[in-house]
């Protein structure tokens, strides 16, 4: 039997207060890509870091086997590690701005990797740096090599980082969320680059929370939950025929065209907490019994398998979501929001130019575009936080952007916002009760039991228990915070909710819950949504119509399904083509 390049058996990582990784085993061959998928806190990054001896000082790493190309990684000292790291194993991290030294040029960064790990003659280093940048798909390599990280765009930085990771010709590249902070078109280019590496015989360990990204690159997938691999197998098998209840929930949570009109999340289930040796998913699993809570089946490292006592099979079914009683969108209605030829520049640079949109009461309009396309500026104009240089916004048939703030203030409650970072939108000194209380006070609810009752009602509406009232938002999870933000926005009974990247900072399963909540509320309350996201899948899931923005302009608008099926503008086509999809066989 051929020895695999990387052989990990029974890897466990303990921190003083938690057990981050628990009995994880996998192998990786040359030219193969193994993707480790899981939500934040699942232990996927710690697993990757312990493979390069960077789990941290407080981490206690143990393994039955930890071999890389016949080398026992567990026995390496710091000096030996330095030869392996960056030389034989390349590491690509998520945030290239943090990973690159701000005081050194991209070229210097790559040259250092060459000097440390290869015997390239001094006078040829420059040429090699150029070659590596070309290989990483960097245009104008001579110019870029002389630039500092802050002068490079996110995509270029990530490529420079990859170039330095592959400088020494590593046999294994570990990529931890390599595309998470990037726009879809840039993401597609980076993924293509990693695919090239794989073809050249480099083994790739890809860490990601994004199943769609993974489906495009991975030969095999390991799904992690609570520090352990719960399911493992060939990529297509794991994606098309998932057996573990967690994997199934994870795949169901990804918004995709066939899932429109369905719920993405499973009904909440809260079971008993499992024993330390039990299945970590037992508390959330409907199928869990006492055996699940006390023990965990073993998983063979080289074969496909599911670490579950009750594996499920068959196609994933999603629940239909409740529909609005009356279809709110009618052609003859007067628009709730009308944006006419709006432009806004900052220091002479146009952020939004000549955008016109209209939104009917109860309608949901999605706005997609890459970073810098003017989506957020447009949202701020609609919210009346920024006044346009040209053009106008009217709300419910009356001028909105043209009003002086004094006259707009009494109307503000009719338009509310949900932002990407809810924590920043709460006064850090106020507990949840005060956040809601303030919102209710401003919309004319009298102090006293009625206001408190309304606060409890709002919490129930967003699926939270009144127990969160005395807590500070900073002590809540990201999903709970976003629910509080939604509750606050609903306190004033708005007609329009402007959502700016409301789920971008959340895990897929939490994203699914928030999207279900928003779509459900929209149906119940007849809210109109202006939904801004860079994530096409998410926009497709919640919108009736979509507007595609590029460089401050709307390049295409249309009914969502029609637009996704046959985009007409070249940019829209490119955008949709670069979108990694799950491609499941249904």
């Amino acid at each position: 039997m051929n020895e695999p390049l990387l052989n990990v058996e029974g890897l466990s990582v303990r921190f003083p207060e938690t057990r981050a990784v628990r009995d994880v085993s996998f192998t990786l061959d040359r030219g193969e890509c193994l993707a480790v998928v899981g939500e934040s806190g699942s232990g996927k990054s710690v697993t990757a870091r312990s493979l390069v001896g960077l789990a941290g000082d407080r981490a206690e790493v143990t393994a039955r086997r930890l071999e890389f190309a016949g080398l026992d990684l567990a026995s390496l000292d710091e000096k030996a590690w330095r030869r392996v790291r960056g030389g034989r194993i390349g590491l690509v991290l998520q945030d290239a701005l943090v990973s690159l030294d701000p005081l050194r040029t991209a070229g210097a960064e790559i040259a250092e990797a060459l000097r440390t790990h290869t015997k390239v003659p001094r006078d040829q280093v420059g040429e090699r740096v150029r070659e590596l940048l070309v290989r990483a798909g960097v245009p104008e390599p001579e110019v870029r090599a002389g630039q500092y990280p802050h002068q490079l765009s996110g995509g270029l930085r990530q490529r420079a980082l990859i170039a330095s990771a592959i400088a020494a010709g590593p046999e294994l590249v570990i990529a931890d969320e390599p595309t998470t902070a990037l726009d879809v078109t840039v993401q597609a280019q980076i993924l293509a680059l990693i695919e090239e590496l794989k073809k050249d015989g480099t083994a790739v360990l890809l860490i990601s929370h994004d199943l769609a990204v993974v489906s495009r690159l991975a030969d095999r997938i390991a799904v992690m939950y609570g520090g352990t691999v719960v399911e493992h197998g060939p990529a297509r098998q794991v994606l098309d025929d998932p057996r573990h209840p967690y994997t199934r929930a994870l795949i169901a949570a990804v918004p995709e065209p066939s899932g429109r009109g369905s719920l993405l999340s499973l009904p909440a289930h809260e079971g008993k907490e499992p024993d330390p040796d039990g299945c970590p998913y037992a508390a959330r699993c409907v199928l869990a019994d006492d055996r699940c809570r006390t023990s965990l089946p073993a998983l063979a490292p080289r074969e496909a398998g599911t670490r579950c006592w009750h594996p499920v099979s068959g196609p994933i079914t999603r629940e239909r979501r409740p529909q609005a009683e009356a279809s709110p969108v009618r052609d003859g209605d007067t628009p709730l929001l009308e944006v006419r030829e709006v432009s806004k520049s900052y220091r002479g640079r146009p952020a939004v130019s000549g955008v016109s949109l209209s939104l009917l009461p109860g309608e949901s309009l999605g706005i997609v575009g890459e970073s810098g396309s003017g989506k957020t500026t447009l949202a701020r104009i609609v919210l009346g936080l920024v006044s346009p240089d040209e053009g106008s916004v009217s709300f419910a048939g009356v001028p909105w952007s043209a009003l002086p703030e004094r006259r707009r203030r009494p109307l503000r409650h009719r338009v509310q916002a949900i932002v990407q970072d809810p924590l920043g939108s709460f006064d850090p000194r106020h507990p949840v009760s005060r956040v809601l209380d303030e919102a209710l006070a401003l919309t004319g609810h009298e102090r006293g039991p009625r206001r408190r009752a309304r606060a409890a009602e709002l919490l129930a509406l967003v699926g939270l228990s009144p127990a969160v009232l005395p807590r500070s938002p900073s002590s809540l999870s990201g999903g709970q915070r976003q629910r509080i933000a939604i509750a606050r926005a609903l306190a004033s009974e708005p007609e329009l909710l402007v959502c700016d990247e409301p789920v971008s900072a959340l895990d897929v399963s939490v994203q699914a819950q928030i999207l279900d909540l928003l779509t459900g509320l929209r149906a119940r309350l007849g809210l109109a949504l202006l939904f801004i996201s860079h994530d096409l899948g998410v926009v497709h899931h919640v919108s009736d119509r979509v507007a595609v923005m590029k460089d401050g302009r709307v390049v295409e608008t249309g009914e969502v399904t029609a637009l996704f099926q046959s985009p007409s503008h070249p940019y829209t086509k490119e955008l949709f083509a670069s979108l990694p999809a799950l491609h499941r066989v249904s």
Partner: protein, 283 residues
């Protein structure tokens, strides 16, 4: 994991992190007590003259000695706590309150107001603090209340700048935006969100500024702008003792030590509060 319940562990949890901190708080407690109930520390009257025992050095009878008029120096130092600290405390409170409002106004009233208010502050900042206070006293005339105002004026620029900087951060925050979107009145925003969130660092700076206020108060009293002579104020006592420093060292040393000890104790306590505060906010 079991929580350690051993006696040593309990002692460790109780023991203050630094002995200096414990000493500082002890001194502060004594000072507060002396200011509130000077009678607790001495049975004498600070103004009682006893010419027979004038200019005696420290002895068991008169701990800190006596002055040129035979008044007991220890009693005068104890009774001097209240007037000496009152001016400093009053000046500090005034400076904090006025500085906070000034900074808030500069941050929130728009660009023109900001520029105008800040340039005015720059004028004050360009002069040494004591000079600003002296200037104000020359205009206002001497007296306890004017002394307070003058010192407050000299402290205010730093506080106003700090609050303005913090308020500008809050103004760009997501929670202020939420308040705007809910239609909250700007005045309510200013006092419910901006001021409370901008105030934390100011209060910490204030504890350190207390020392400066006390020194300034004593210094200006020394120069004859504050309390008038027979009153037992530390600066006045220093000023009176100056002429006899060659023959009666205790007349200068004990009031001076009282000032130094107060300022050091409050500064040590203030800095530890500052360290704790920054730790908490950076976490």
């Amino acid at each position: 994991m079991t929580t350690p319940t051993l006696p040593e562990a309990r002692w460790k949890a109780w023991r203050p992190a630094r002995p200096a901190l414990l000493a500082a708080w002890t001194v502060i407690a004594l000072i507060v007590l002396a200011a509130a109930f000077p009678g607790l520390f001495t049975g004498r009257d600070p103004l009682e003259l006893e010419p027979a025992v004038a200019m005696r050095g420290p002895s068991p009878e008169h701990w800190f000695g006596t002055d040129q008029l035979g008044r007991d120096l220890f009693t005068r130092v104890v009774y001097g706590t209240r007037p000496s600290l009152l001016v400093g405390l009053g000046a500090l409170t005034l400076a904090l309150a006025a500085g906070a409002l000034y900074g808030l106004a500069a941050a929130l009233l728009g660009r023109f107001a900001d520029v105008a208010l800040m340039r005015l502050l720059d004028v004050l900042l360009a002069l040494p603090q004591l000079l600003v206070a002296l200037l104000a006293l020359t205009v206002l005339g001497s007296g306890q209340v004017n002394l307070m105002i003058a010192i407050a004026l000299s402290l205010l620029p730093a506080y106003a700048r700090l609050v303005r900087a913090e308020a500008l951060v809050v103004r760009r925050s997501g929670y202020l935006e939420s308040a705007v979107l809910l239609g909250q009145h700007p005045l309510v925003q200013a006092f419910r969100h901006v001021l409370p969130n901008a105030l934390g660092p100011l209060l910490v700076l204030g504890t350190v500024g207390f020392g400066m206020a006390v020194i300034a108060a004593s210094g200006l009293s020394f120069l004859g702008f504050g309390a008038e002579p027979p009153s037992p104020e530390w600066g006045v006592m220093l000023s009176e003792g100056r002429d006899y420093l060659q023959t009666a060292w205790w007349l200068g040393v004990f009031p001076g030590a009282a000032i130094t000890l107060t300022v050091v104790a409050v500064s040590v306590a203030g800095r530890s509060a500052q360290a704790r505060f920054t730790r908490r906010t950076t976490l």
